[in-house]
Symmetry: C2
Subunit: 409 residues, 2 copies
Amino acid sequence: MARINSSYRKLSAGYLFPEIGRRVMEFQKANPSIKILLLGIGNTTEPLTPAVMDGLREGVERLSAVETYTGYGDEQGEKELREGLARYYSSLGVDLEADELFISDGAKPDAGNIQSIFATDSTVAFQDPAYPVYVDSNVIAGRSGPYDPRRGNYAGFVYMPCSEMNGFIPEPPEETVDVIYLCSPNNPTGAVAGYRQLQKFVEYALEQKAVLIFDSAYAEFISDPALPRSIFEIEGAKKCAVEIGSFSKFAGFTGVRLGWTVLPKTLKIADSGPGEVHQCWLRRQTTLFNGASNIAQRGGIAVLSKQGLHECRKLIDFYMGNARIIKKGLLECGLTVYGGENAPYLWVKAPEKLTSWEFFDKLLQEAHVTGTPGSGFGPSGEGFLRLSAFGHRSNIIEAVQSIQAKLLL
Amino acid sequence: MARINSSYRKLSAGYLFPEIGRRVMEFQKANPSIKILLLGIGNTTEPLTPAVMDGLREGVERLSAVETYTGYGDEQGEKELREGLARYYSSLGVDLEADELFISDGAKPDAGNIQSIFATDSTVAFQDPAYPVYVDSNVIAGRSGPYDPRRGNYAGFVYMPCSEMNGFIPEPPEETVDVIYLCSPNNPTGAVAGYRQLQKFVEYALEQKAVLIFDSAYAEFISDPALPRSIFEIEGAKKCAVEIGSFSKFAGFTGVRLGWTVLPKTLKIADSGPGEVHQCWLRRQTTLFNGASNIAQRGGIAVLSKQGLHECRKLIDFYMGNARIIKKGLLECGLTVYGGENAPYLWVKAPEKLTSWEFFDKLLQEAHVTGTPGSGFGPSGEGFLRLSAFGHRSNIIEAVQSIQAKLLL
């Protein structure tokens, strides 16, 4: 008698983005003539850059000739791409060996799967709010108690509230935890952790023999040289941290699918032998994954070329221009807005003590603009809305003008 | 104190293919002038066909223009591709709705991840020998007891021996099990199950409320019209089976990465409500996966076009020509050879009662040809070697000639 993995039944409601989709579709059905302006989901909108296009074209053309055709590659990724990433890290002052880098089909699967290599009874801490994948993957793995709909959280998990009080960067937990997820630049708050703030987490992890899972998917959006782009810029982090990176927002690869995870060989947790955590991820990936698309990998190699980096950074500047337009426009309305300076996300405080979903509905109904309700990212996200700087410039301007003209404040 | 998921420590030795790689590399180091002929790993070698190339090119070019650029798509895959697959199944006489098809980055991840949606204390049955991912993913998920190196199996798992006695297609287990993995055409034995044989499994599953996980990755290699290509050709299967398919061997997409999994909405297991198993996989994929590459998906759509199918079937005919050459050559040597008729794998019995690894070493050392040791696929694979029909024609001929000339029998 086959039965369902009952952990799936613990998951609260639908995944955030499908729920938004349903509400938007409902509004559109009721108001078919209204143009809805999307400022919600963080999805890239601009075409790939010329050097990257050439890399992808080369990736495809290689498959048409017997001399250059390739089938299965190493599950861990092509050597050339791993070496390119090692050079990228070197430019941040971080020394990594190419085989400490594992290429994947994106940060989301890695962020979801990384928990697999840690004990099933681990105590896990999350920033609150946080990208839902961290929490949901640990619920599915059976690490949580039931969901409390009143509090909006799961029993057994440790939440680190990110609030206006702490500038949305929490202190390490007071409890003893085994695994800590951190994301900086943060999705959804747009907050970026400084050296000293990350250092505290590294010190905590070394002291408690905990492991940090650091999501750096938005690192390239940092322009302030005083802010760390990689957890490995912090001394000691190679002994206690894993880092997850992505080409999605870096190069517009949200649909192409390419990311990476760094597992230093020096990473050692309580009961592991030297290099065992690294080996464990290698075993996970060689068993349950078959490598990223060889076409996407050629694209990734092109991103990391001198010309590719130059072009992709211009693309990021463009999105950050959007962020500035949104921030300025909303501040002029008298709204309170965080983030959007070294991150593509803006964290907007709901006016009049509205809840996140009330503010979502208000923005949709009055200004025909969608955001992402902060409460969907965790209980401390309540009362906020995430706006995203990804979008065509004309749409961004139209959305901001619509908010300025129509939102009743 | 973070700790390792101890299930990883239960996994026996290295994954099969890396171990082969190590032995081959060792032999090559000791004999640098000898050319080693690979008949081992089932990796495609021939360039993609023209219609498929055009699909991939279109997939790339769409990313260069603002009008056609796409970022994140549905995690379940593009509608056009799902509809194309529904039409493909329709040509086999199987009616499926497009949203019962989930596009993935290949059969291997799906074969590894599908177990996630079933209870962690499920009793699982495997064909023995079998593709190692089925067993290993269930070990990682904690469903096994320890590995017994003497017997070559895991406590707690049910093995269904595939032997010369039963033509390598087992009867349903005598025990009560919850989940059964089946692969036909089979990797590694090359055996193909007939209607009546699959019917018995469907009857068992319906009676025991068990679920069948049917891996049809090699379905396109069936030329005999009397053999079923999909489990859903069997009456009742849509109530008890999941099917995993792949473009890897179908179209040469081993490196491009594209596959699918069918979860009928009518599939119902012991404790599930209507459609719940389907919903559970949807939740798994939307949470832990972010869709296959949009470029690969355009390629998949091209594969399923009339011209694409025509070309890909010619490519499969080519590989099956290889299979015939290998089978004929080895039979002439007096070896006993199974498979290779409606499947790209040949299952060669080791002469002189050698073990699989002894035969592997003998073939490598005497004829400089590599196979894949049958024992790597499970205890009943002992005494066999898997040969693969994937390869350039000239290499296949050279390997067969080398075996005929040099293997000491």
